[in-house]
């Protein structure tokens, strides 16, 4: 008998716990040539803002040992274009559409959150509290507990749909940041976002990117992400979504075992465009081999 992969996050149920990570799966369309989007637990859309954004100057990516750094700078087409040009296509699929969003300041966060909340076809919102490449007071919202508290509270008040807060790893105590989100009514937290990092060209003495620093992602950061998820799971009751260097079913299962309710696959899509479905299949196979009927049985089954 086929094991059940279904999980619930807030009021939303996912046919399986494998989602795509924001910014690594475009607007879904780009990968539909490789993957039947209906098979995915959910798709998290590239960070969206009220108005379209140009993003950072190239070069924007550089490969590092078992990872990559990027400085895309949250380039996106803006809410209106997303609603008109991308959403209709996404609606054709039977999967959860989660929109990752951000703003230059708290008002913008609230504004776009409100719009997304009213937009049919968007199932949940993921609030990106770390915009590594922008610099405003609110840029620090992911780093300073009190800013985070105020931001989550105000956004939460505006929206009915499930709210996921995506946490930055660049903090002393990520479990405490997660706790704040829980206290302010977030339905879930997802972690980790990329880790601020840097690579320079010793010949030119300049950054390998168009910006000084970028965000590190990929297998290199997986053990850090797993530890962060473990810390957070111990401090909150709301679902935790694990993100960071997940490249295969075994990686994903590590996150479930420490207590993640779902996972997001990011950089791996670039290296293997069908990785998401392979991970779903791999998880199924593992459950069958281990005679486990429901994925929820292994979530949090870590033995310390």
């Amino acid at each position: 008998m086929m094991p059940s992969l279904e999980v619930k996050i807030g009021s939303l149920s996912f046919k399986n716990p494998v989602l795509t990570a924001s910014g690594t799966f475009g607007y879904g369309l780009e990968y539909s040539q490789f993957v039947d989007l209906n098979l995915l637990g959910g798709i998290v859309i590239k960070g969206l803002s009220l108005k379209s954004k140009q993003g950072n100057p190239p070069p924007r990516i550089y490969e590092t040992p078992c990872g990559m750094i990027n400085s895309i700078g949250l380039q996106n087409i803006g809410f209106e274009a997303f609603k008109k040009e991308k959403l209709p296509f996404l609606k054709r699929f039977n999967t959860n559409i989660i929109v990752n969003f951000f703003g230059e300041n708290l008002d913008e966060y609230i504004e776009i959150a409100t719009l997304l909340d009213e937009t049919e076809g968007v199932h949940a919102l993921e609030m990106n509290v770390s915009c590594p490449n922008k610099d405003t007071k609110w840029r620090r919202m992911g780093l300073e507990p009190e800013l985070l508290r105020e931001a989550v509270r105000k956004v939460r008040l505006q929206i009915k749909k499930p709210l996921i807060v995506k946490l930055s790893p660049q903090v002393t105590d990520i479990a405490f940041m997660a706790k704040i989100c829980e206290e302010e009514g977030a339905d879930a937290v997802s972690l980790i976002n990329t880790i601020p990092a840097m690579v320079i060209d010793i010949k030119t003495r300049k950054s390998m990117l168009g910006t000084t620093t970028g965000g590190l992602s990929g297998p290199a950061i997986r053990p850090i992400a797993l530890r962060a998820v473990w810390e957070v799971v111990q401090s909150v009751k709301i679902p935790v979504i694990g993100v960071g260097g997940i490249f295969n079913a075994e990686d994903a299962l590590q996150f479930f075992i420490v207590g993640a309710k779902a996972i997001q696959v990011g950089t791996a899509n670039f290296i293997n465009p069908t990785v998401t479905v392979e991970i779903i299949e791999g998880i199924k196979q593992f459950l069958i081999d281990e005679r486990i009927e429901d994925i929820n049985e292994i979530i949090g089954s870590f033995k310390e």
């Binding site: 990968y31 140009q54 297998p219 490249f247 670039f270």
Partner: protein, 248 residues
Amino acid sequence: MNKLFKSKVITNEEIRESIYLISLEIPINIESKPGQFCILRVNQRFDPLLGRPFSIFDHEKDEIKFLYRLKGKGTNVLSKLKKGDSITFAGPFGRWYPFPKEDFIVVAGGIGLASVYYLIKRFPHRAYLFYGVRSEREILFYEELKKLSKQVYISTEKETNYTYKGVVTELFKEKGMALPLPIYACGPMIMLKELKKIVDESRLCYVATEERMACGVGACLGCVIRTKDGFKRVCTDGPVFDLRELVL
């Protein structure tokens, strides 16, 4: 349409110092167009992590070829692959060179030849090829190119009995500019910049560009370059652009 292939190496030879030609099996019948590229995953481990983009050098039925120059770790690992080794690659991706409807001009700089050989080979219309390399030794596929093209002009740093002295854009300016034909070009940034200077805005000039890539399918927004209307993705809006669009 399938764009991801678990393939095997047919051959992988160093045809010149640090220049390799790799030929891969392509199980099913796919369509590819000159100017498009594929992303090769050089090994199954995570270092190097990202796939490497290479122009389709040639493609016939069940065999696809890439011409590459040793650069860093990725091409280095790639160069170690031997006959029968398995390799995965994805593609073809990107905007191709608009099909020539008449004879055409090709300006190629160094390894840039990799992107235009297939163009020169594939159409009934024929090319006036302007090909720049540093030294005679670096001239690739001379015989084939002579056969395939209407005319071949080669520039090298030092003059030889069948090459001109100087950079390829100079040579083109001298011998090719007058021809009222569309231009197709691929080569290093300095060559494209030079072309931008010398080619009249009124002329059709298609150039293949390069930028670091992660996804190759337009999703990561990592491969953008500057154009008149903002950043565009080399992998999907390019790699072939109208020279007039580009801000170099």
